[in-house]
Amino acid sequence: MRISPPRAVVAAVLALLTSALAALTVGVSPWSTLATIVSGAVGTTYALGSTMNSAAVLTMLGLSFAFGLRGHVINIGMQGQFLLGTVGSLLVATSVSLPTALHLPACLLGGAVGGALWALIPALMKMQRGANELVTTLMMNFIGVALVAYLLRGPLKDANADLPESVVLPHSARLPIIMPGSRASAGIVVAVGCVLLIGFLLRYTRWGFKLSSVGMNPEAARYAGFNVRSIKLQAFLVSGALSGIAGAMVLQGEKYRLQEGLIDNWYIGIVVGLIGGGSALGCLVAAVGFGALQTGAFEAQLNLGVPAAIVDLMQGAVIVMFLLVARAPDIRAVMKRHQRSRERPTRAAVSRGDADVVSTSTREGERSS
């Protein structure tokens, strides 16, 4: 789903207009909605910090999805892996006491382990029994949500709290604020670090090459003598770990205690991974866009009385607009009512196996950019 920058701008503008029109239904003028969204996303230091926090989480989720895809695995279990990441991080934070310099990375690692373990279940099911991971990871999301709900009412509940929530993290486990006057936490640094690391691994290491080969053509990789099963398993686990770190970041950088509903927009991670074209840097750019949208729309809800769900509506609009804009040449062809699409694959592409796109591949559509 790679998309060129000018087209991305067109799509974003169209989506904003759609949402502004939706705001009309509650009697708010489209222009003030747009203005509020923009100023609410980047207008003040505080807003900028919130945008960056959202972007950091979405970056991790997008990376998680994109990394799985690179290894030919469709992991859409980011919600469950994120939640188990929060649990892993919380356990490390509350069970050991260390100096901050050690405690922070230990908790993040706890998050990574939690996420990876949650991904291990569908991964093993796929390896051993061939169960379709798209469905199993989704199921694991629902199970994860229920599990955290149970833990917060039982074993992990703060005895002194009325609500189902955990104890507050010790200060040594909290990610510091990196921008004074805002809530921007060091999770942003972690996310950027992960982007650079994953980008480097995929581009410059032998392991990354193996992984990408498996993602592009598992059969060919098998003939080349790669251990495809073990590479897929690694892709699955790293993908889960990245979502788990996202959970740890939210817990340690924003909330400081585990509550319900910490991640309800997880599926935007899928979109970030896809719009980012499966590259680490692309995920970062797309995540900043969606992070700004979320923060701005939240502001619009506070100041203008637009229903909170405007956020969800806008995100849906953005995705659909992106899809349409990415396929603009095709749409023109459809409008002209002639059947031939301008970007029909050449015969050479077919023999390379390009058109034989498995439903998992994001390479469908790259030719359009």
Partner: protein, 307 residues
Amino acid sequence: MNDVSTILVSAIALTTPLLLAAMGGLLSERAGVFALALEGYMLVGAFLAVIVARDTNAYIGAIAGGIGGMLLAWGFAELSIRLRINQVTAAIGLITLASGATTFFNDVILGKTGTPYQRAPSLPRLEIPLLSDIPVIGQALFAQNILVYIAYGVAAFLAYYLTKSHSGMRLSSVGEAPRVAETRGIPVSTTRNGAVLVSGLLAGLGGAMLTLGILSSFTAGVSGGRGFIALAAIVVGGWRPLSVLFATLMFGTADALQLWMNARGMDVPPEILGMFPYVLAMVALCLFVSHRAPGALGVPFHRELRG
């Protein structure tokens, strides 16, 4: 009514939304189009059914729900069949749009001070004389609302259609080997469009069953992953209509059991009980692994390509 027949009645009712969605999804997947967007169709159907039923009656609401699911399916068909956008991407986009739009307009219609859910009239139960008096199973099978009968009718029809009828064979060939089907003169894109539209209609009715037949209300995200469970049922049932029917019955019964145990106040926490249908789906996916997926499932079709 004893416990067994109580559970049976609710099991059949809870199976119905799953069954309608799964049958729609089955038709779509047999034609080679991945049915991940079922969840979105159900949500739109559930929402529109309630909105329309509030001002008219439950029957017109159910029809509106079916049409609503069909509208979203039309969008999916345009994106995935005509524009050949990756089907997983297109489905995720439309699910997001459906959940956003239903939540948003639910808020708008209720106003900001309203209660967070919409009350709606419910579909009346239609007792079939004599048959509904059969002990244990009578009430469960023959005293349900119209959508339940429709769902089982659709399942029976599809069992015949996909395995015995000429037209069903043609549809399956489109999902199995579109290139071959095209050369035999079967219009691939048209067939797929039709299958996707029908899947939207059925899943939309499934959503209507959820809000008008079971809950009598709409809340944000009311479908609660049932579209995905229906997807699991299709895989577990190995893309065969009767097996898919049994898979949905299994999941529906699991749902009914956990609700019943909840109501009875068992020692198990409700959150753990709530996992039951999903855990069952995972186990079933491992036990009944089927490699009988349609050959061209999820692969966009280029007519002018001569492979």
